[in-house]
Symmetry: C2
Subunit: 150 residues, 2 copies
């Protein structure tokens, strides 16, 4: 399994995966987006063992992706809620879901869909250039050294 | 380590992670997008063991994310190249990189950037609604049952 850390690689993808690339982690984040907050609810929905869930939640809290919010101080019970850093994972979760919809489950078999509140339509997302607004795919871009390049 | 498969979960995210959620896999896909094609080049760039790389490439080939293209039939040597299903992962890779840029490495430390060939600018991506074209974030959408909901 994990014998190597990606944390020292000079790559934002590697460093992101160091935090969210472990087995189970993105499904926990997915459930947070669906409004799940309680430890026992994660256990029940995911079918995950309590010790693995504890490990993953601890790491997500340490990485500031999820925060613990006490709801019963006396019994030390917590809600687990996405931080701004965690909510910023929505594009990752969404593009992953749409890839699965298109290439695995297939059109017409989507388990969930999303409705855009403001325009009222069931929608899919599109990735566009934030300069010109045109759709972006891999062949449209050229990779260049960034300021943190070594 | 992996005791549970996500393949039977009725969720496109889980099914996507069953294919690309293993440790190392998305870094292999990243390198494919950067033009790496040869087994030994993956080994050298990633610092991955040959047997783990073989395992991951075999799974990616079985899942039709990568295809083997013989470049030396006599010696059974292959290039590893993304299929259309693999190239469709670009939004996942890109949103993951941009999340890492923003929340881990930080602005001004990006190891790489992308330039949009047609508009000529160094760009970031934005996720928009494909119906109305407006930017989409989690709070803008409502999750609804899809046709494959159980």
């Amino acid at each position: 399994m994990r014998k190597v850390s990606f944390a020292d690689m000079n790559c934002s993808i590697a460093q992101a995966l160091e935090i969210i690339g472990e087995w189970w982690t993105l499904l926990i984040v997915r459930d947070c987006f669906l409004g799940i907050r309680r430890f026992d609810d994660f256990v029940e929905r995911l079918g995950i063992s309590r010790n693995v869930l504890t490990d993953r939640l601890d790491k997500l809290v340490a990485a500031d992706v999820i925060e613990r919010r006490p709801y019963d101080e006396g019994r030390l019970r917590y809600d687990y809620v996405l931080t701004p850093k965690g909510r910023a994972l929505w594009p990752v979760i969404t593009t992953l879901r749409e890839w699965g919809d298109e290439w695995i489950t297939g059109e017409g078999n989507e388990p969930i869909l999303i409705e855009h509140r403001s325009c009222g339509n069931v929608t899919h997302t599109r990735l566009v250039c934030d300069c010109c607004g045109e759709p972006l795919v891999a062949r449209d871009v050229r990779v260049v050294d960034g300021p943190g390049s070594r």
